[in-house]
Amino acid sequence: MTEEKPIVYVVDDDPSVRKALERLLRSAGHDAKTFASALEFMDFSHPDASGCLVLDIKMPKLSGLELQDRLAEKNISFPIIFITGHGTVPASVKAFKAGAMDFLQKPFEDRELLDAVSSGIEKHRRLRQEQKEKETLRARLDTLTPKEREVFALVVTGMLNKQVALDLGTTEKTIKVHRGRVMEKMGAKSLADLVRFAEKIGIRSSAG
């Protein structure tokens, strides 16, 4: 699976700052894309790649905080690094509460920004990876028969085959066959894998 190159999105209404940030990111080997306003960014259809958002809090029309809310509504998960001027403590608190990744006060050292951007990209990459895994597991789960799901749900609780057979009113041998099928279909090498998968896709034993 080939991962696309991460992109750093910069939204700032000040052209000087915008341009300088783009240069700084580029000099550090990042792909940067700049936007003069939040709305402009909203209109942009970003590619399916990991990245992060560098966002000025104070902007006309749609502020950084408002953009944050809108992205959350749309379930767009870019980590957001807010950059701001002087003493906007209430705004920063609000931003963190809404899940901001970092909060930089202008003027900031290049390292501060680049570190934040790197970890943001990493965070997003991981997030995307997890999401993908989850989607794969869900697809595998869909291939299970209802009986196999029942067996899957009971097995991950740590129950023995005969306990499961007793619970389902069948033989231990039948359970064993189902269990093998579940392991195969879900791509689990061990019971521990199966338990982890179950956690990820949120399958809980009804009896648990």
Binding site: V17, A20, R23, S27, P60, G85, H86, G87, F108
Partner: protein, 754 residues
């Protein structure tokens, strides 16, 4: 009413007329006027021939001619058209004489057209009608003095008769009244035919009295016998003189000498019938007045000549009644009572008593009184003049007093540049004595910088001749200068001037201004405190860009093959951003710095934009949008840019504060500029906030009035002070759609900035 006569002339004694004449010093006898309408020139050129039967010097002719002549003259028939002829027919009635006379008439008048002939006595009438028939055939005739009962001969021409009706009975009855105790009457009469006719008339008239009085007719006597009879007449006798033109010896008596002679010897008063005898010895009587007859005849002639009124109204017979007339001296002589005279009597030769002269006396008194009033008036005027002089002197003293006491510097100077007069205030103010000040040209005391201006004022005073106001500095004895504010007016080659020492006032003004500036500065700094966030942002933006750019450049340069053009661009951007930061710092410093008040040409739009720029970041933070609507054709103004920025900043911050609790979408401020008129620029700051509390709208500009919990309450007060100092006004009002608009005006910069 008894009329008064002077020598036959009527004297109207109306007091007011008299007074006027007296005052004018023009005492003169008015020309006698006869009741006669003035006839104009139509009658000029008409010829009238007057024929006397006998000698022209007979009293009857003299009197008649006098009245006739005057009347004709006044009616337009001039003397040169009046011809008088005496025919002497009484003395010589022979046919030969008559023939010669007729011939004479022909020779004299054949070339003239006669318009009227007046004959006196029947002989003359007869002569015209018979002897001159072919000479004056159709000329109208007035036949005067015809005997009573004379039958006018039949003729085709107009012929008007006249008889003098002698009033014997009237005269007699008047005489009886005047001499009530009379026992006898001497009737004096001549022997001429006419005389006898009159005597016959008298006898007939007096017949009824013969039983009561003794009548003696002195008719068949010589003149000498008559004189004897009169000189021996008893006192209770009345002498009645009839007509005496000829005595028994055929001697003619025509002059007035006869009554005089009779009177000289008579022992009794003489009454008579003709006015020609009045003044010559007779007392009077109901007299025939020849002049009056002449006047009446004249009027009749004029009527005939002018043809108006219609000939029908002209009588065929002229009748002139006699007039009761008396001689005052004779009344006195015979001691006869005036009160017994009949009504309408004319008394001549009156000698006046005081009582008679009462109108003269009253007139004189009035004149004297008028004089007295005049003199009193003149005296009063003189007195007034003296009192005016006195009050003038007092006024002058008062003015001198004020001149000395005045706190203002008063002076009279000449256009040569010297003081002529100075009041003591000069000594108090400048420290020089007046002598010292007057010794030099006053320009010597003027501050060198004000000298040109002062010379200009003096020369324009000398030429323009109207009051001027100006100010300059004068040196004191201690070398310091005092500011003087002048009002000066020219008068000839003098200048009157009053000056006020305004040094203290100017000092106070300067102090007040400095105080105001201090306060404005403090307020401004306080306001900047409110803006720190915004200012930090304004500076942080370029700093951020600079830092990032510089770091990026470092990275690019550390790469294997650095992009130099990229680095160059970065450096350019760094420089630009640094300038940008610098610019903000400069603006802020300007606002915060305490600087001397400046007065320079300004574009109000620029002033407003600087403020909007400064506050932009802050407004963003507050979710506030500031819109500008600036008039492109705004006139330049004059003043201090920083202070005006302060005002606009204050208004915007106030507007922002008023919208603190508004939804962020509604937080909007409009900054607007416009030309109010060609001389006024106006700025508006409109917000959409809570508006102004109408109850406190008047207190808005008061110091320490505030609605903001953290506010000092100085902002608007200082702003208004600043605008007033710039010659403008400030106002505040609520908008109809909510919020408030603060506005101020400033005078547009007209002409050259000085």
């Amino acid at each position: 009413m008894i009329q008064k006569w002077f020598r036959g002339r009527r004297f109207p004694l109306r007091p007011h007329i008299f007074l006027i004449l007296l005052i004018c010093g023009l005492i003169s006898h008015p020309v006698p006027t006869h009741a006669q309408t003035q006839r104009q020139n139509p009658l000029s050129g008409k010829n009238v021939l007057i024929l006397h039967s006998h000698e022209a010097n007979a009293p009857v002719f003299i009197g008649t001619d006098k009245g006739l002549l005057a009347t004709l003259e006044s009616g337009g028939v001039h003397r040169i058209n009046q011809f008088f002829e005496s025919l002497y027919l009484r003395g010589n009635p022979a046919p030969e004489h008559r023939r010669l006379l007729a011939e004479q008439m022909r020779v004299r008048y054949v070339h003239r057209k006669l318009d009227m002939i007046i004959t006196m006595y029947p002989e003359a009438l007869e002569f015209v009608l018979k002897d001159c028939l072919d000479i004056f055939p159709d000329v109208p005739i007035l036949g005067m003095y015809l005997p009573l009962g004379f039958k006018l001969p039949k003729t085709k021409r107009r012929l008007i008769g006249h008889s003098a009706s002698l009033d014997v009975l009237g005269t007699f009855e008047i005489a009886l009244k005047l001499v009530p105790g009379a026992k006898r009457v001497y009737v004096v009469s001549g022997a001429h035919e006419l005389d006898r006719t009159v005597e016959d008339l008298a006898r007939r008239d007096l017949k009824k009295w013969e039983g009561r009085l003794e009548f003696r007719y002195l008719n068949e006597m010589s003149f000498g016998d008559i004189l004897v009879a009169l000189s021996t007449a008893p006192p209770d006798t009345i002498i009645l003189l009839l007509i005496y033109s000829q005595d028994v010896n055929g001697r003619n008596y025509t002059s007035n000498a006869l009554p005089q002679q009779l009177n000289q010897v008579s022992t009794a008063p003489i009454f008579s019938l003709l006015d020609s005898a009045l003044g010559h010895g007779i007392v009077g009587g109901s007299l025939i007045n020849f002049e009056r007859i002449g006047a009446k005849a004249g009027e009749l002639v004029l009527d005939v000549l002018s043809g108006t009124p219609t000939t029908k109204s002209i009588p065929g017979f002229l009748d002139v009644p006699p007039v009761p007339m008396f001689d005052w001296r004779q009344l006195r002589r015979w001691n006869l009572s005036e009160s017994a005279l009949p009504k309408g009597s004319i008394v001549v030769n009156r000698e006046f008593t005081f009582w008679d002269l009462k109108y003269y006396i009253i007139g004189a008194l009035v004149f004297i009184m008028a004089q007295a009033f005049l003199i009193a008036g003149l005296l009063l005027q003189r007195r007034r003049k003296r009192s005016a002089e006195e009050s003038l002197r007092q006024k002058t003293e008062e003015l001198d007093q004020f001149f000395s006491l005045s706190l203002e510097l008063l002076c009279i100077a000449n256009t040569d540049g010297y003081f002529v007069r100075l009041n003591p205030a000069w000594e108090r103010s400048l420290g020089y004595s007046r002598e010292e000040l007057m010794a030099k040209q006053f320009f010597d005391f003027v501050h060198p910088e004000d000298l040109d201006k002062t010379r200009e004022v003096v020369s324009s005073l000398a030429s323009q001749q109207r009051p001027l106001h100006f100010g300059n500095r004068h040196r004191c004895k201690d070398g310091t200068y005092r500011w003087l504010e002048w009002t000066a007016a020219p008068a000839g080659n003098l200048i009157y001037a009053a000056a006020r020492d305004i040094t203290e006032r100017l000092k106070e003004e300067v102090e007040a201004r400095e105080h105001r500036e201090e306060l404005a500065h403090v307020t401004r700094v306080a306001m900047m405190g409110e803006l720190t966030t915004s200012l930090a942002h304004e500076i942080n933006q370029p700093l951020t860009a600079i830092l990032s750019n510089a770091e990026a450049a470092q990275r690019f340069l550390s790469q294997a093959s650095p992009d130099i053009s990229e680095v160059r661009q970065i450096l350019e951007d760094i420089i630009r951003d640094d300038r940008r930061a610098n610019d903000v710092v400069r603006k802020v410093r300007a606002l915060v710095k305490k600087e001397k008040l400046r007065d320079e040409p300004l574009d109000l739009n620029e002033v407003m934009l600087v403020v909007v720029d400064l506050i932009r970041a802050d407004s963003l933070l507050q979710g506030l949008s500031i819109a500008t609507d600036l008039s492109p054709g705004l006139a330049m103004i004059h003043g201090d840019g920083i202070q005006l920025q302060q005002v606009i900043l204050n208004l915007i911050l106030n507007g922002a504060a008023a919208m603190r609790n508004s939804p962020s979408g509604q937080r909007k401020i409009i900054v607007r500029s416009a030309m109010l008129d060609s001389r006024t620029v106006k700025a508006f700051v409109t917000d959409f906030g809570t508006g102004i509390d109408e109850n406190n709208i008047e207190r808005l500009f008061e110091p320490f009035y505030t609605t903001k919990p953290e506010g000092l309450g100085m902002g608007l007060s200082i702003s208004e002070t600043i605008i007033k100092a710039h010659g403008g006004t400030m106002e505040a009002r609520n908008n109809r759609e909510g919020g408030a608009t603060f506005a101020f005006t400033l005078p547009a910069n007209q002409g050259d900035p000085s």
